[in-house]
């Protein structure tokens, strides 16, 4: 179902042979070793890789905060290497301004992303109602629970006009139960509002549950070890967890990661 959509549309994101090296000379360290991947329009792609392999660095490069040592980033058919403001982003921590209300935070981020101020107000209100947080619209962030904050943070990324959403371990800081609820919540919203998503996660289950495709990275310098197409039909439900194919794929990815980590350790003397 997804696949014919992706074939007909140009890629939202094209990462071409990105190398990234920190430092110079003997002390230098190559973190990204010629990495290529793509995200099609409306596609949900997850990145899994060992800790410290350079996933966040890849996001910094895509977002234009770090310049790659070589390689190019293309967004919506235009080269944007080193340029900022072309993506919408959800970090691991909610990153809400403590001196702004919940609604104020969303509105401000949207104006930064280039949305007209008036339009942000209506949209924000409508969506906060939709996700059941309208009574917190005028509350300051410290009043909200971790799960609520991440929902606000996700909403802020979702409403931004940019085509690509980068999610960097969005649920990593949540407890297991909240995490499961958040995955289902995100899934239901995303299935109604297909956006191009690139998600970093440490959880193979999370990646399998949410994505159309999974990209497995090696330890540093990170390269793509393998890509997996996730074949499960949408809308997906919890029933998936007990699907034998689900567990089989989980096992495959797990084995691949184990090998990737071991190789990384052998050649580079350790990971974070």
């Amino acid at each position: 179902m997804m696949s014919d959509r992706t074939e007909n549309h140009p890629n939202t994101l094209q990462v071409q042979m990105i190398r990234k090296q920190f430092g110079k000379g003997l002390a230098s360290k190559e973190v990204l070793g010629g990495l290529s991947l793509s995200v099609a329009d409306g596609e949900f792609v997850s990145i899994i890789g060992p800790s410290g392999s350079g996933k966040s660095t890849l996001f910094q490069v895509i977002g234009g905060l770090e310049k790659p040592s070589s390689g190019e980033i293309w967004l919506d058919g235009k080269e944007t290497t080193g340029e900022r403001g072309h993506i919408s982003y959800m970090p691991q921590q909610p990153a809400l301004l403590p001196w702004q209300t919940v609604a104020g935070n969303i509105e401000f981020s949207l104006t930064v992303s280039g949305v007209d101020r008036k339009a942000t107000k209506l949209k924000t209100k409508e969506w906060l109602e939709r996700i059941g947080l309208d009574e917190y619209a005028d509350a300051y962030p410290h009043v909200l629970s971790g799960g609520m904050l991440q929902r606000v943070s996700f909403l802020r990324a979702l409403l931004a006009p940019q085509h690509l959403m980068l999610l960097d371990e969005p649920f990593g800081a949540l407890d297991a139960l909240t995490r499961l609820q958040m995955q289902q919540w995100l899934m239901s919203i995303w299935e109604e509002n297909r956006r191009s998503v690139l998600l970093i996660t440490h959880s193979i289950e999370e990646a399998l549950f949410l994505s159309d495709r999974i990209v497995v990275l090696s330890a540093s310098p990170a390269v793509v070890l393998k890509e997996f197409i996730v074949p499960f039909v949408r809308p997906r439900s919890e029933a998936l967890w007990t699907d034998p194919r689900f567990n089989e794929m989980k096992q495959q990815i797990y084995e691949l990661l184990k090998v990737g980590v071991r190789e990384g350790v052998c050649s580079h003397g350790g990971i974070n």
Binding site: G64, A95, L97, W99
Partner: protein, 257 residues
């Protein structure tokens, strides 16, 4: 209601202790432990203050004027300098270490130099108070501007915030918390330095009034002036605290305490 009762239960113990101390003082003086003309009794201080009230208020007004001019002026300069240092990176590395070092200079000693250069008018005194207030504010403000939450900064840079928006919407609001701790220090310093500035030579103000009274062996007047100075200092500090409460409402209540 309940809230008021809690506040009251916090306030009355120190007031009781203070009243007790005053009573002891009064008793000690009337009982002849100290001589009246060296340590006056609280009652005689109040009597003297009431007698010369209009004059006392004139001096108080002069000191308040000097304090406020210096405090506001010094804060403004400190604020602007911190912002400039922050926004112009080249200047930062050269000036900031000097700024931190200069905090250790007792500014008061510059007083006589200022009078020498600028005479006995209001200007050198205001300058002195400004200089005292300026350092704590610029240092507090600068460190506040320089390190807002790294994750917030990263997030906003990822979505393409401009340098100006970053300054106005992220760094400046973050720095206000620091700014207020600088303002509190400056508030206490400003009254003190205004009084010292008045010692340097003038006919007006509580500082000179104290000096003249002590030379004329009028201890009641000296004590009355000291009490007013303490009250001024506490009032200014209280006002800054109040402003902070009004300004930084977003903070969790526990943290603000």
């Amino acid at each position: 209601m309940g809230n008021k009762r809690i506040v009251w239960s916090k306030i009355w113990p120190p007031i009781a202790v203070l009243a007790g101390l005053l009573a002891c003082w009064q008793a000690a003086v009337t009982g002849g432990v100290f001589d009246q003309w060296i340590v006056p009794s609280p009652v005689s201080i109040v009597q003297e203050a009431v007698k010369i009230w209009p004059r006392l208020m004139e001096h108080t007004a002069a000191t308040v004027q000097l304090t406020l001019l210096g405090f506001v002026g010094g804060s403004a300069v400190g604020f602007v300098l911190a912002a400039l240092l922050h926004l112009i990176p080249g200047v930062r590395t050269g000036v900031y270490p000097l700024l931190v070092l200069s905090q250790n200079i007792p500014i008061i000693v510059i007083g006589p130099i200022l009078t020498m250069l600028l005479g006995y008018g209001l200007l050198p005194k205001v300058l002195l108070v400004m200089m005292v207030c300026f350092f704590p504010i610029s240092v507090a403000m600068f460190s506040g501007l320089a390190n807002p939450d790294a994750q917030l900064r990263n997030y906003f840079q990822m979505i393409g915030i401009s340098k100006w928006q970053l300054f106005w919407r992220l760094e400046l609001p973050h720095a206000t918390v620091h700014l207020f701790s600088g303002l509190k220090i400056a508030a206490s310093y400003s009254v003190l330095s205004a009084v010292v500035a008045e010692w340097l030579g003038t006919k007006k103000g509580l500082g000179s009034f104290m000096l003249i009274s002590s030379k004329g062996f009028m201890p009641e007047r000296v004590f009355a002036a000291v009490i007013i100075i303490i009250a001024l200092s506490l009032t200014l500090f209280g006002l800054v605290n109040l402003a902070e409460r009004l300004f930084i409402r977003w903070r969790p209540v526990k943290e603000a305490e």
